[in-house]
Amino acid sequence: MTPGTLLTPFVVEAVSPGAMREWSVFLADPNPIHLDAEAVRAAGLGDRPINQGPANLAYLINLLSLNFPEMDIVTLETRFNGNVFAGDRCVAGGHVIEVGETGVRCEIWLDVDGGGRAVSANASVRKRARP
C-alpha cells in the first residue's frame, strides 16, 4: 500500500427506510425527516426520508474496517456535505495519503449515485496494539 492507492469501496446498494427507523432508536432521535416522506416534503428537503448523518459516517467507518482489518481508527475528521435519501445507492471510497511505520492516513468519502458527495473525511488508522 502506497500513497495514492485506492481503497476497496464499501457499497450500500439501497439505503433502507427500515434501518432509518432503527437508527432513530439508536440515536434517540424521533426527527420525522428520517421516518416520514411527508415530513421531508413539508420541510422542502425532498420527497424521501433522509438518512441520519451518523449512519452515513458509519458507512465510512465500515470502509476503514474493510480495508484495514488489523488496524484501529485513531482520528476521523468529517464534513457532512449533503443528504442521503431512502433508496439511494451510495459508495464509500477513498485513497491513501500517507503510509507510516505504524499507521496509514487516508482521504475518504461517501458518494451518492446521481447525488454527489454526501460526506468527506480524513482518517488515520494504526496497527492494533491489543492482544
Partner: protein, 151 residues
C-alpha cells in the same frame, strides 16, 4: 419577507456551558449487533463496539437530549438543526457493556450568513468519553442552527 440580521436576536451566550452527563452510557451488545447489521456488517466477536458509538454514546450520554441541547441555543429541534462536521480522536477502541461517562462543554457559537440558509449560527461543542477517569475518545461536533426572523 425574508429575515434580515436586524430581525434576529443575537446568538445566545452559551460558550462554556457544561454538558457533563449525569449517568454513564453503556453500549448494549445486542444493540451494537443490530446497529452493525443495519449498516451491512457483522459485529466484532472480540467485545469491541462499532466505532460510530463515539457519536452515539457522547450524544446520548451528555446532560441534554437533542431537543434540550437545541433549546440551549434558543432553537426548536423541529426547525431542523444540521450537523456539518465532526472530529474524533480515539485512544482505545470502544467496548460493549462498559459504562462510559461523558464530559464536555460548548466551545463557541458564531453568527454567519449563508446564501442557501440565510442567517445561521454555527456551534462547536466538545465531548469526551471516559472509562473511569481514562479518556477513550474525544469528539468535537459542529452544528448549524438556521435562524428565522421573529414573527
Amino acid at each position: 419577507m425574508n429575515a434580515t440580521q436586524d430581525d434576529i436576536p443575537p446568538p445566545p451566550e452559551v460558550r462554556g456551558i457544561v454538558l457533563d452527563g449525569a449517568e454513564p452510557y453503556v453500549i448494549k451488545a445486542d444493540e451494537n449487533a443490530a446497529l452493525c447489521r443495519s449498516t451491512g456488517i457483522e459485529p466484532a466477536g472480540d467485545g469491541t463496539a462499532h466505532p460510530i458509538y463515539h457519536f452515539i454514546a457522547t450524544q446520548l450520554g451528555m446532560k441534554h437530549s437533542v431537543a434540550e441541547f437545541c433549546a440551549l441555543f434558543d432553537f426548536d429541534v423541529a426547525d431542523g438543526p444540521m450537523i456539518v462536521g465532526s472530529i474524533v480522536t480515539f485512544h482505545t477502541p470502544l467496548r460493549v457493556e462498559t459504562p462510559y461517562w461523558v464530559r464536555g462543554e460548548i466551545l463557541s457559537i458564531t453568527r454567519k450568513q449563508s446564501r442557501k440558509l440565510g442567517t445561521m449560527d454555527v456551534a462547536d461543542y466538545r465531548l469526551a468519553l471516559l472509562d473511569g477517569e481514562t479518556s477513550v475518545a474525544e469528539v468535537t461536533n459542529s452544528w448549524i442552527f438556521p435562524r428565522k426572523a421573529r414573527t
